[in-house]
């Protein structure tokens, strides 16, 4: 019987299709591995409700484990507790930065609805992944994927992606 750690090691070969520099274990979406007889069940939690990468990831989990000799693999979606970027380790965040994506900071305490609807709210400056300057601004809270926002560095005049804290 293989260990859970051995399975996780294999699953580390499955990269996030949108962020090929990090794998799904580092991303924090693999929640558990359970052995049921000959069957291996992998519990994953989605990042965002509509993230199209999830389907690809589920398929790749099955294919990767099959190629390592596990014939009966199922993937189960779990929703509780909801995924958060706080599950991404400091080392993984550093990988994102090297890749050119500003990594997520700690998730802020829950704001009330009243805090969310004020246009003059404080916006934290995100450090530019290229030059390290904090003289940056948010261009749009929505970017090329659900998990990223578009920022601009006034210091090195570069637009960059920010992996939103969520």
């Amino acid at each position: 019987m293989p260990t859970k750690e051995a399975i996780l090691e294999i699953l580390a070969q499955v990269k996030d299709p949108e962020l090929p520099v990090i794998d799904i274990v580092e991303l924090g979406i693999v929640r558990d591995v359970v052995f049921e007889g000959e069957q291996v069940r992998v519990d994953v939690t989605p990042t965002y409700s509509g993230c199209p990468a999830m389907e690809v990831i589920e398929r790749e989990i099955v294919e990767t484990l099959e190629s390592h000799g596990f014939a009966d693999v199922t993937v189960r979606s779990v929703f509780n507790p909801a995924w958060t970027t706080d599950w991404i380790s400091a080392e993984t965040k550093e990988k994102l930065r090297e890749y050119g994506i500003a990594p997520p900071g700690a998730v802020a305490r829950s704001e009330s609805a009243e805090d969310l609807v004020t246009i003059r709210r404080a916006r934290s400056a995100i450090e530019c992944p290229y030059c390290g300057s904090s003289d940056t601004e948010e261009k749009s809270e929505f970017g090329s994927t659900a998990c990223k926002a578009i920022h601009f560095c006034r210091s090195c005049r570069q637009p960059f992606d920010y992996f939103k804290s969520f």
């Binding site: 965002y48 199209p52 929703f79 509780n80 609805a113 609807v117 261009k139 090329s144 969520f166």
Partner: protein
């Protein structure tokens, strides 16, 4: 429904960032709907999955409120509707995240996190449009006035809603209404828009009585799945 309506902006947004933003929100809402419909299919236990429920039901079988099926209109209409919905969805998912149904609570907890930045986005735009130019103000006010009579339906509860609320599964729509009114009133005032007085409220969507627009929308939304039943992509 609303996710589909928002997707109609893809490639037509007023600026690139907004095109991307509306598509992102659309994707979140379609994702949330997929999860809720999947759960509904399991609870119903008649072998219908989320695709069967989305693509193979007739208009009269849909239970959405009428507000979300209305055509997308201009940008002001889309944003004001989104704002009205986002305030509602924020409070609804906040409550459902505490539901005694573990599955429902899990889906809602994720939806709640997403509703937070949806609300941030739409409320900012309501303030920019309302307190912007003469033209943007006029269009935003018209959207508020035209949409107002559709807002009441979100808070109407029937016997099923009451039972779900008593059982700790569903939400307290009266409590949500109070919070909704306070936030909406506050933001509209900040946006220099006037808050309409409550008069007649339209309803019926939750009983399958819809506006003429739903059928047209469904014919577009469902055509691929119905033309190629069982297809996978």
């Amino acid at each position: 429904m609303l996710g589909h309506r928002l997707s109609e902006w893809c490639g037509h947004g007023p600026i690139l960032e907004e095109d991307i933003a509306l598509a992102n929100v659309s994707l979140d809402l379609i994702g949330q709907a997929t999860l809720y419909l999947h759960l509904a299919g399991e609870v119903e236990a008649k072998g219908r999955n989320e695709d069967a429920l989305a693509y193979f039901r007739e208009a009269v079988e849909f239970r959405n409120v009428q507000m979300v099926e209305l055509p997308k209109g201009d940008f002001a209409f889309t944003i004001v509707r989104q704002f009205f919905f986002d305030v509602y969805n924020y409070h609804l998912s906040e409550q459902l995240a505490k539901s005694s149904s573990v599955e429902l609570a899990g889906i809602a907890a994720k939806g709640y996190k997403e509703a937070r930045y949806h609300l941030r986005h739409s409320s900012e735009w309501v303030q920019r449009l309302g307190d912007g130019t003469e033209e943007s103000h006029a269009r935003a006010q018209k959207a508020v006035n035209d949409l107002w009579r559709f807002t009441g339906e979100m808070f109407m509860s029937d016997e099923v809603d009451q039972r779900l609320k008593t059982g700790g599964i569903g939400a307290d729509l009266d409590a949500i209404r109070q919070k909704w009114s306070a936030i909406v009133g506050d933001v509209l005032t900040r946006a220099t828009l006037s808050v309409p007085t409550d008069t007649f409220m339209l309803a019926g969507g939750r009983q399958g009585r819809h506006t003429e627009y739903l059928g047209h929308m469904l014919s577009e939304m469902q055509i691929v799945a119905r033309s190629h039943p069982g297809a996978e992509w």
